[in-house]
């Protein structure tokens, strides 16, 4: 008891009071300088449900497990500061009925999430509420049902709803990442396609590592992936159905095809085709199989990415002598260079909101991830490092994920490749957990939208 009191005092001293009027709001445009203190009460599970979940999922406390997923998501966003559960005074079941707001404001929580999980007809039913502690009001109440093995997704969906209610923008937590899992020495690196939840759980490997694979990207519906494979030592763009595992080569090109992405309607693949030392951009319609040549220039044209309305394409070209970013209409007309800063620019990728293009920049031996407006103005560099590239946007256009490599010594020791994410504001840079080394991440859209 004495310990608890001391602990409370400590909490109070650390979290300085922040008085707000009216309903709470989280400002996501200014970074995470002042994350919102939020209490995520473990979801209540009555005894019989608890027993059933323990039997089917082999999880001791499903309510705590789901709330941990929520808490971890909120924390990783950088916008929220989930409070330690040891300090909670009210029991989950009572808090869910009617929180005693004084108890929660005492530990400086501004928002509170409560809920209950039930086992009903072999399904998992969850009900949760979001409370404004200072105003003493319920902000949101929702319930949904799913199969028990989807319990982590339940946590992600709750986070998305809370994030949307408090920031006014869609969340990005019920999403997956596809990436390249890497192992072995640099000279004989083994690479596999891997897919995992946004928070690093439920990793599955889609290829065995027999051939080199690179740059996987989701289609808008998240069931297909396009990527580059060196199957039979012929580097070609492939299409993979994630559910069925069926793969096919995209098109019938007499040479290397690479740098694939889907069009925003998912009907076309856009990619580069290299022939006789010249790479140009092509599209192939997946239904009609019609191939169109989009650029026609004796330089390297690669890394194409559509605007979300499908009307424009940004891409990488060295037609000026060095790698720069260009924008053109989707038929290849009106090509315009947009990058004019010092250094080289690569891997342009159009934001899902349409207003920004993220890129990799190489300048004076350093690599940067940055963003610029689609006319090239307003360039902002978010992060600088020894080596990093290939940003991919979260579906709400608020976070970028990319990969970063470390320097190795002359024997190749010290080398690693990891996924990192950073907020569009340049704050909240963090490593994303992966089972192996990882590169070429691509973010899915929201799975339950």
């Amino acid at each position: 008891m004495r310990f608890t009191i001391k602990y409370l005092i400590f909490i109070i001293m650390v979290f300085t009071p922040n008085i707000t009027f009216g309903l709470i709001e989280v400002d996501i445009t200014r970074g995470n300088l002042n994350p919102l203190p939020i209490a995520v009460s473990p979801l209540f599970v009555e005894e019989q449900s608890a027993k059933n979940f323990e039997k089917t999922l082999e999880i001791e406390n499903i309510g705590s497990s789901i709330s941990n997923v929520v808490e971890n998501n909120l924390k990783s966003s950088g916008l929220f500061n989930p409070l330690k559960k040891e300090a909670f005074l009210q029991k989950p079941e009572i808090a869910h009925l009617k929180p005693r707001f004084e108890d929660w404001s005492l530990i400086k929580a501004q928002a509170l999430i409560t809920g209950e999980v039930k086992y009903e007809n072999e399904k998992l039913r969850v009900e949760f509420r979001l409370w404004d502690v200072l105003a003493g009001k319920e902000m949101m109440a929702l319930a949904f049902t799913t199969v028990p093995k989807n319990w982590r997704r339940v946590g992600h969906i709750i986070t998305d709803k809370v994030y949307e209610r408090l920031t006014g923008e869609k969340g990005y937590f019920d999403t997956r990442l596809i990436y390249v899992a890497e192992e072995g020495p640099k000279t004989k690196r083994i690479k596999k396609l891997a897919i995992m939840d946004q928070d690093g759980f439920n990793t599955k490997y889609l290829t065995l590592g027999n051939e080199l694979v690179l740059t996987p990207r989701f289609n808008p519906a998240n069931q297909m992936v396009t990527y580059l494979s060196y199957f039979k030592n012929l580097p070609r763009v492939y299409l993979l159905d994630i559910e069925t595992g069926v793969q096919e080569v995209v098109g019938d090109f007499p040479g290397m095809t690479f740098a694939p992405r889907f069009s925003p309607d998912g009907k076309k693949i856009i990619m580069s085709f290299a022939k006789d030392g010249n790479s140009d951009i092509y599209t192939m319609d997946l239904e009609s199989r019609i191939v169109e040549k989009i650029t026609n220039h004796p330089s390297i044209d690669t890394s194409p990415s559509y605007s979300p309305d499908g009307k424009y394409i940004c891409f990488n070209s060295d037609r000026s002598g060095y790698q720069q970013i260009y924008v053109m209409k989707s038929d290849g007309s009106q090509v315009k260079r947009i990058s004019f800063g010092n250094g080289l620019y690569g891997t342009p990728v159009w934001s899902p909101r349409g207003d920004l293009i993220a890129f990799t920049k190489l300048h004076k031996g350093k690599f940067y991830i940055g963003v610029m407006r689609v006319d090239g103005s307003g360039e902002r560099l978010l992060t600088e490092n020894y080596y990093q590239e290939a940003p991919s946007w979260s579906p709400n256009g608020r976070v970028l994920i990319f990969y970063r490599e470390t320097k190795s010594d002359s024997e190749g020791k010290g080398f690693s490749a990891k996924l990192w994410s950073i907020d569009l504001t340049g704050y909240n840079e963090r490593m994303v957990n992966t089972e192996t080394d990882a590169s070429d991440p691509s973010w899915s859209s929201l799975l339950s939208d």
């Binding site: 690196r189 080199l212 580097p235 040479g255 290397m256 320097k407």
Partner: protein, 158 residues
Amino acid sequence: MIFNKILKNSLVVIFAGLLLSACATKKVSNQIQGDVYTGKDTIEYLASGVPDRVFFATNESVLTTASRETLRKQAAWLRKNSKINVVLEGHADERGTREYNLALGERRANAAKDYLMTYGISGNRISVISYGKERPVDSGSNPLAWSKNRRSVTVKAN
């Protein structure tokens, strides 16, 4: 001796003139000149006196004087061994974005292919593959390692 020195120096000047990026880079060791690897460490031989690879400056696919000499030797060897086909494997160093490097490796291998063809080797006997930065020969993160990795390697295909 003095003549040799003059010759060496003038070669350096020629290199510097050939390569746009030469002015930006310093001589890192005596195995790199004008940003291009000139050592022998990684080289293998297709036949006695026929080196298997040529090297490039950063972001470049221009063949140096030494590269052209190597490729002329390869062409002579290919003419003598008319049943041998080759694959030219183009590579880039690790200091560039993956997709661009794939294109750059392809461009480098094709620069070597074009040169072999001007010396009478049929394009049918030569295929090209780019590995971008995926298959370095030296895993170090230093200018010497990078210079060894910017290469086009001629490999027997049969």
